[in-house]
């Protein structure tokens, strides 16, 4: 049973990734702009261009190019970046930790903030506080993440410059880590200066990414909480002497979180998508920023690598969401 579901899962994953590979491959090639011409100085001859095209394999037909590229990918060779002249997998993997850390921090902020607001709203249901919180989260939700990014740059970077608005870490700090997970490795190594600096650089972009999701969680979770709070077992808990707050936290929250989890999973992938622009705004050295450079420079192998990695990431996240859903729901666990 478990084996069968796992196999189906693996198969669909493979099919999805293949589909993504085909689509990206075709799209970046039909889009206007010749990457080779952009690499060479203005005076380059037709012959120079042709020679370089042959070097990168652009002289072959589209299906041929695809087969060659896919053959490489299957052996772990994602090609070489045209602009940066280094293996794509190496480049992409060196940037992934920055984006992951940023996304995880945004997710943690969104869940913590959203849950807190939902709990307060449910606790004060039927009062002006609830209405006020509803209105605020509606307003927050109507502003997309990159606009929040710009607002924060203006507020805390320009008008009241208290936070760093550019980069990933203070360039004065020397980092000789084995991985690029500055925050995690910094914590493990006890390099609190690194942790402190990366966190303070991440705070604003993470907050920009987190706010819309936090508002969404707040709205949905509060609605679920209010429904759960009408259930008989919460009434019984009140009769047994538990306060309204502990009824919410101990009896209602876990049941209300379950339906919220699916939303968080789907929205987390959107949040990661949002890093592309938000990283750009804050000059944060992550995958998204690299992706924009790659697109501007028509760096086809790099674009392909980044898109494939994002697709794989989304699949893994959906897998984790399904898994945690099963873990949190006793009915499914024993089913």
């Amino acid at each position: 049973m478990l084996l069968k579901t796992t196999l189906i899962r693996l198969l669909t994953t493979a099919v999805t990734l293949f589909g993504v590979a085909v689509v990206v491959f075709v799209l970046v090639r039909v889009a206007p702009g010749n990457p080779i011409a952009m690499m060479l100085p203005p005076g380059a001859t037709e012959a120079d261009i042709a020679a370089l095209e042959a070097l990168y394999g652009f002289d072959k037909s589209l299906p041929e190019q695809f087969v060659i590229w896919l053959g490489g990918v299957l052996q772990g060779d994602f090609g070489t970046s045209i602009t940066l002249r280094r293996p794509v997998d190496e480049l992409v993997l060196s940037r992934l930790p920055a984006t992951l850390e940023l996304s995880i921090m945004a997710l943690v902020i969104a869940v913590a903030l959203g849950t807190a607001i939902a709990v307060i709203g449910a606790r004060r249901r039927g009062t002006a506080t609830e209405v006020g919180l509803d209105l605020s989260s509606g307003a927050v939700l109507s502003v997309p993440d990159f606009l929040w990014g710009l607002v924060f740059v203006l507020l805390f970077g320009v008008l009241w410059p208290v936070l760093s608005i550019s980069g990933r870490i203070d360039p004065q700090i020397e980092v000789d880590f084995t991985s690029n997970f500055y925050t995690f490795e910094g914590l493990l190594r006890g390099r609190l200066d690194v942790v402190q600096s990366t966190l303070s650089h991440m705070l604003m972009p993470a907050l920009a990414l987190a706010l819309p999701l936090a508002a969404m969680i707040a709205q949905l979770l509060k609605q679920n909480l209010k429904e759960v709070l009408l259930q008989d077992y919460t009434t019984l808990a009140r009769v047994r002497g538990f306060s309204e707050t502990s009824v919410i936290l101990r009896e209602a929250l876990r049941n209300a979180l379950l339906p919220t989890l699916t939303l968080v999973g789907v929205q987390f992938t959107f949040l990661i998508g949002g890093t592309v622009i938000v990283e750009r705004i804050f000059s944060y050295e992550g995958l998204g920023n690299m992706a924009i450079d790659a697109v501007i420079n028509r760096d086809l192998p790099l674009i392909q690598g980044i898109v494939l990695l994002f697709a794989a990431l989304f699949i893994v996240i959906n897998l984790l969401v399904d898994l945690s859903y099963t873990l949190l729901n006793p009915r499914l666990r024993h089913g």
Binding site: G126, Q231, D232, Y233, T235, L236, A237, R238, V239, R240, G241, F242, S243, R250, E251, R254, N255, L258, L328, N329, P330, R331, H334
Partner: protein, 298 residues
């Protein structure tokens, strides 16, 4: 039964009125009392206000309803005069609820064990060991096989009858002086109903706990109670000892309710619903009553 010397009753409800914000009354001057160890049945048709009385006592009325007049005394203490916090603690110390629907009264995300022991530890201040031992003993007492395994189970792993047994055990665990049982058998199979009814009766007698038992079934009344309150439209029609209510019912509505109860012993006896004419007459009374009450209030 010793009980409190100065105040012998476990529960006194005195001239209780509960109304909607627009002034419409759902309970009309309801009075009743329960001595320690006594079982009183609240009987009446759907919508008569039976559950409302239980909810008012336990402090779980819907937010839009208010107690407009009257007193509720739990072991002699005026509940209405208390702050919400004190009231909650007082009710939790001396009262418990056996709910109607065992399928929704247990938290689906939590194991059975903590759902019984949590209040004992966190509200009543017992040690974990004592709470666990009490829970195991009570689960055994309500005829649950393998109590240790059931403590580890989730509600969906138990049948409806088993869950109701669990809820009965949970209600009796902190040794309450009063238990409100709101139609505790209506959601169950007919075969299980009798067992559950007997179980509540037995435990009630062993522990001398007073029980306010809500039902719409006159058949249940004879089995469990010493006292009966017959309700119609939030108003007490008759309040009498059980043996008298069947031999000598005084109110026409009581007689109609008894006649409307199908008798399993005598299946040939024709079933006669409460006559419409009687209901209309009683409702006229209520309207006149309400008009007088409004006039008096102004």
């Amino acid at each position: 039964m010793t009980g409190s010397q100065t105040h012998p009753n476990t529960l006194d409800v005195m001239q209780l009125n509960i109304a909607l914000p627009n002034g419409h009354r759902l309970l009309r001057d309801v009075s009743l009392s329960l001595r320690p160890g006594e079982v009183r049945v609240l009987v009446g048709e759907s919508g008569a206000g039976k559950s409302m009385i239980g909810k008012a006592v336990l402090g779980i009325l819907p937010q839009n309803l208010k107690v407009t007049e009257g007193e509720i005394l739990l072991e002699g203490q005026h509940l209405n005069a208390m702050t919400p916090w004190t009231r909650r603690k007082t009710v939790a110390q001396s009262a418990a609820l056996i709910p109607q629907d065992p399928l929704t009264a247990l938290n689906p995300a939590r194991r059975i064990g903590p759902q019984i022991t949590d209040p004992l530890v966190r509200i009543h201040g017992w040690s974990r060991t004592k709470a666990r031992e009490t829970a195991l003993a009570l689960l055994d007492r309500v005829h649950i096989r393998d109590p240790k395994r059931v403590m580890e189970s989730y509600p969906h792993e138990l049948s409806g009858g088993m869950r109701q047994r669990v809820l009965i055990a949970a209600a009796f665990a902190p040794s309450p002086r009063l238990i409100v049982a709101d139609e505790p058998t209506t959601a169950l199979d007919v075969t299980v109903q009798k067992q559950i009814l007997r179980l509540i009766r037995e435990l009630q007698q062993e522990t001398a706990t007073a029980v306010l038992f809500v039902t719409h079934d006159m058949g249940v009344v004879a089995k469990v109670s010493q006292q009966v309150t017959v309700l119609f439209a939030g108003k007490v029609m008759e309040d009498a000892p059980t043996e008298r209510i069947f031999t000598d019912p005084r109110h026409p509505y009581t007689r109609a309710l008894i006649a409307a109860t199908p008798s399993y012993a005598d299946l040939d006896r024709p079933f006669s619903p409460v006559p419409q004419a009687l209901i209309a007459e009683l409702q006229d009374d209520i309207v006149r009553d309400d008009a007088r009450h409004q006039g008096g209030a102004r």
